[in-house]
Amino acid sequence: MEIELEINGVEQTVEASKSDSLLDVLRRNGYTGAKRGCDTGACGFCTVHVDGEPVKSCVEPVTKVRDASVETIEGLGEQDDLHPVQQAFVDNTALQCGFCIPGMIMRATALLETNPDPTEQEVREALSDNLCRCTGYKKIVEAVLDAAERMDGGTVAADGGKAFEGNERVANSTECAVNDCDCMEGGQ
């Protein structure tokens, strides 16, 4: 049968059988960034976004994503123009063999969409369905926290706000979020 869906912003019609998972279809069509780790939704390596929500594509029947908008790791950034989350993973050496990383990053971006300023514990909880065997998670959690700071910076720039030295601003923003003041706009 044919399924219409949008992958990384491009409308596509793909050939699929009823029993196919979204992962099967993605990988057959060249989106191999999503990895097959268990086929039971237990490892999170295959995490992608479906209509903005993180979904484990290996247990998502492809019939369920008809007309949906799917975003995969390939849709995020490019090697010389990384998404801030990807950049943070690179800068924090938060990867080794890398097999879990696409799913981890998709999960992390979903987290930061809903919670741009998570605590360490919130990061750990958000990622708790995503297994990693190499890193002990330490650098991954650090990377996501780092990304949150970076992306916050992005917002400021988009607003045309005053440029801050990364570190100072970070300090500011976490402090200010607590106090709920609007010093970001008005300066100190």
């Binding site: 268990c38 039971t40 063999c97 097999f99």
Partner: protein, 826 residues
């Protein structure tokens, strides 16, 4: 963040590079000969490419999903067939018949193979990816008529798509004649236990084998006179004999990328494997031997690999893929399911160990005696060598103990196969030795740390226990670098050992445990690495190296070592690794050998090329080579300060008028040395005496891996190793029903720690200089897998006074131990 942390650490800890500063007296003891051996000792200020957090060369590809692992090559093979394995569903028996007719009749089925087919080799072999002849028995067949555990491969299918392959595999009917099975290693060892192997079922038998008792191997070795020492101790008031027992479970590697292989024959008739392996060259040899094709006709390529941890130090699935390829006449991909990973592939050997020491009132250890009974499961791959490491890795922490004995038995049961796994016996051994030492200290009322430091290894020690199972003293080693004391000191400080605050609740008790750790750097006298360097005209280099990056960042490390020698940046090095047709030989990624052996080969190759660079530099600068050196992307004169860039040299050497040369370098490395890296694991735990539950507050690991070529990658190794060690201590286990059927089928049933299960971790790097390693480096990857079980056992003992001896530790175990304790108290 970790960068700045480390920077701070460095500045706060001026003695970080401690060896020289800390002990001038010892430095003096480091004789003239040592200085001669260390041409590559570089103070921090002189290092350009090493001890730098160089970005991992594939990091960007990985985060964008562009890195290709084996299964991702599927689209390169339009006529790819997909394999599926049919596995035994009984624990022990013979295959009477295999009915493949229904499967063969299906549309889209390309091949069905059974043990009775000619295309399937009938030879015995070992899947262990080790040196040759393999120190593992040849007791396997590709497809098995005699099945010995639930999961043994019996038949296989190749079909046009994975779904058809699955359906066809299910249509294959296998009839068995069942035999009695045995699941407990001690029972298996009985004379009248069901026997897994007849005498001629095995070739290349290992020492001490006695298959009538299911004994795969037996070994023992002794230094001094252990019995005499215990005899004396048991009759002496001032001496004590303490004996303990320990037990460890199966552990799964949980490799993120399941075992995957694509087998095909290319347009140049080369039998090619794109395969997730740690041992391309061993696999090439093993495939050739097994299928009786010349080694030269086989090509094994390792693409990105989703980690190995030892499970891919095995030719686990390549033969089935190849047989299917030969039968189907087209490329075949065989990709394991997660369930197969948890039931049919490879695991850490479960063991039972006994440890006995004789100690004086002064805290001197006079004798150590360690015995292990290892359950190797249905087959003997890595059986003996893993069990050997139970003793030969941790016992050398105490090299001055005069009387040492170590012995073991490796026994078959009708359960899945034990095999290589990160740590390779050392995690089991460290659990026994380091928890035992803690117990001794506490029983004799020594401070556990002081007791150990009193006996622990020092620079200059002569270590004989590492070679206790070997004849002669060829592998006795001199300890030339040892930062274990600084590891303990700094770890102790960071964990807050000396001022631990107890929780306010009465039922909560906090404790800290420590374990000393040692590993090796490669298999002494059984490693080989080689590399070639080719210079491009733009001043960059192609580095061809057999060494295998399993995701650790080895390729990046190679580029740093080469760059340090050649005076360029790591980005100037294009690494081409682990392809048996293209790269020089390498034993593979195991035994913590990659940096030490392959890295050294890279260094040698780079130095060979550097000689030519200096020669060309000398031509161009008109100065003698001996005043020249490489650096900053050029060759410069130390005398005149003049310089010529590598790019200028590259163009001149390639296109110059007078003479031309392609600047090449090659390098080899083999050695009898295997210097131990050291570590100290600290665990801070709070135990709830009401529920038995415990919570890890913090893990601190201080490591001496010599000079860390890439500190960020080294930290990654440590944190990942601790993760695995944490699992071993707290949650990892496989269980089976009474018929030997696995009960753990996936991640859901297996206790792999998740982000939320992880306590805070802190890593400390203690730099020493190992003169035999490249730029002073030793290994790191395995070291941190050894520490959490003993350190946690010790911490719980510290917190609530009970000793846990069976991994993993559950709340029930704690509660039971507390009950026993209070019963004992009463």
């Amino acid at each position: 963040m970790s960068d700045s942390d480390r920077a701070r650490e460095t500045s706060e800890q001026p003695d970080r590079t401690g060896v020289e500063d800390a002990a001038p007296a010892e430095a003096e003891k480091e004789s003239e000969a040592d200085v001669a051996r260390e041409p590559d000792r570089k103070p921090e200020s002189e290092r350009d490419a090493i001890t730098v957090d160089e970005e991992k060369d594939d990091a960007r590809k990985i985060v964008t999903g562009e890195a290709r692992y084996t299964a991702d090559y599927r689209d390169r093979f339009p006529d790819l067939a997909h394999g599926k394995v049919v596995r035994s569903d009984i624990a022990h028996g013979y295959v009477e018949s295999v009915d493949t007719s229904a499967a063969e009749a299906m549309d889209g089925v390309d091949a069905v193979i059974t043990p009775f087919d000619d295309v399937v080799p009938h030879k015995l072999y070992s899947s262990s990816g080790q040196s040759y002849p393999e120190p593992s028995p040849w007791d396997l067949k590709v497809l098995r008529e005699h099945v010995r555990f639930v999961g043994d491969p019996v038949a296989a299918v190749a079909a046009d798509d994975p779904e058809t392959a699955d359906r066809a595999a299910r249509k294959i009917e296998v009839e068995y004649r069942e035999l009695d099975a045995v699941f407990d290693p001690e029972e298996a060892f009985d004379d009248d236990a069901p026997q897994l192997f007849e005498a001629d079922d095995v070739e290349n038998k290992q020492s001490g084998a006695d298959y009538s008792r299911n004994l795969e191997s037996h070994f023992e070795g002794e230094l001094g006179d252990v019995e005499a020492a215990f005899e004396r101790a048991s009759n002496d008031e001032e001496r004590h004999v303490i004996e303990t027992e320990w037990e460890t479970p199966y552990q799964s590697h949980c490799v993120p990328e399941p075992h995957t292989t694509i087998a095909y024959t290319d347009e140049d008739d080369r039998h090619t494997f794109i395969t997730a392996t740690q041992v391309p060259f061993h696999t090439r040899r093993q495939i050739a031997h097994l299928f009786d094709v010349p080694i030269r006709d086989v090509r094994v390529k390792k693409p990105r690999i989703g980690a190995g941890f030892g499970s891919k130090q095995e030719m686990a699935i390549e033969p089935i893929a190849f047989a299917l390829h030969l039968a189907a006449g087209r490329p075949v991909k065989l990709e394991m399911s997660r369930q197969e990973e948890f039931t049919a592939l490879r695991f850490r050997h479960p063991m039972r160990m006994q440890m006995r020491t004789a100690v004086t009132d002064d805290g001197d250890i006079e004798a150590m005696d360690l015995y292990t009974l290892s359950n190797t499961g249905a087959y003997g791959t890595h059986g003996m060598t893993v069990a050997n490491n139970v003793g030969t890795k941790p016992l050398p922490i105490y090299p001055r103990v005069p009387n040492v004995r170590f012995s073991g038995d490796v026994v078959h049961t009708n359960l899945p196969m034990g095999a290589a796994m990160r740590g390779y016996g050392a995690p089991q051994g460290h659990f026994a030795v380091e928890a035992h030492m803690d117990e001794v200290a506490r029983r004799l009322d020594f401070d556990p740390i002081e007791f150990r430091l009193q006996n622990a290894v020092r620079e200059g020690d002569l270590d004989r226990s590492v070679a206790i199972l070997k004849d002669g003293d060829r592998f006795t080693r001199e300890i030339r670098s040892c930062g274990i004391r600084e590891c303990v000191e700094r770890g102790r400080e960071v964990i807050g050992y000396d001022d631990l605050e107890q929780p306010e609740s009465d039922h909560l008790h906090r404790g800290v445990g420590m374990a000393l750790i040692a590993q090796g750097s490669g298999v002494a006298g059984k490693e080989l690495g080689a590399a070639q360097v080719q210079m491009n005209e733009d001043g960059s280099f192609h580095l061809q190296v057999g060494g295998v990056d399993t995701g650790t960042g080895a390729d990046t490390m190679f580029s740093q070592i080469a760059a340090e020698v050649l005076g360029c940046t790591p980005e100037d090095i294009v690494v081409i690794a682990a392809d048996t047709d293209l790269t020089p030989f390498d034993y593979g990624a195991y035994a913590s050998s990659t940096t030490y052996i392959s890295g050294r080969a890279v260094k040698n190759a780079a130095e060979d090329a550097k000689e030519r660079l200096l020669e060309w530099g000398s031509n161009l600068l008109d100065e003698p080579p001996d005043v020249l050196d490489t650096g900053d992307g050029g060759v410069y004169s130390e005398r005149s300060g003049n310089r010529v860039s590598l790019e200028e040299i590259g163009y001149e050497a390639t296109y110059g008028d007078d003479e031309r040369e392609h600047i090449l370098g090659d390098g080899n490395h083999s050695t009898d040395e295997s210097p131990p890296p050291y570590g100290a694991q600290f665990v801070d735990v709070t135990v709830d005496t009401e529920t038995g539950e415990y919570e890890l507050n913090k893990l601190v690991f201080a490591a001496d891996c010599g000079v860390a070529i890439n500190p960020a990658l080294v930290e990654g190794q440590i944190e990942g190793g601790e993760h695995m060690s944490l699992e071993y201590a707290t949650s990892g286990d496989l269980t089976f029903d009474e018929d030997g059927n696995p009960e753990v089928l996936g991640f859901r049933q297996y206790g792999m720690p998740r982000t939320t299960d992880h306590p805070e971790m802190e890593t400390i790097l203690v730099e020493t200089h190992e003169p035999t390693g490249p730029f002073g480096a030793k290994s790191i990857a395995e070291l941190p897998t050894n520490g959490v079980p003993p350190a946690l056992s010790n911490a719980i003992r510290d917190a609530v006074g009970v000793r846990l001896t069976d991994l993993p530790f559950t709340a029930e175990d704690v509660t039971a131990a507390l009950h026993e304790q209070s019963a004992g108290d009463e």
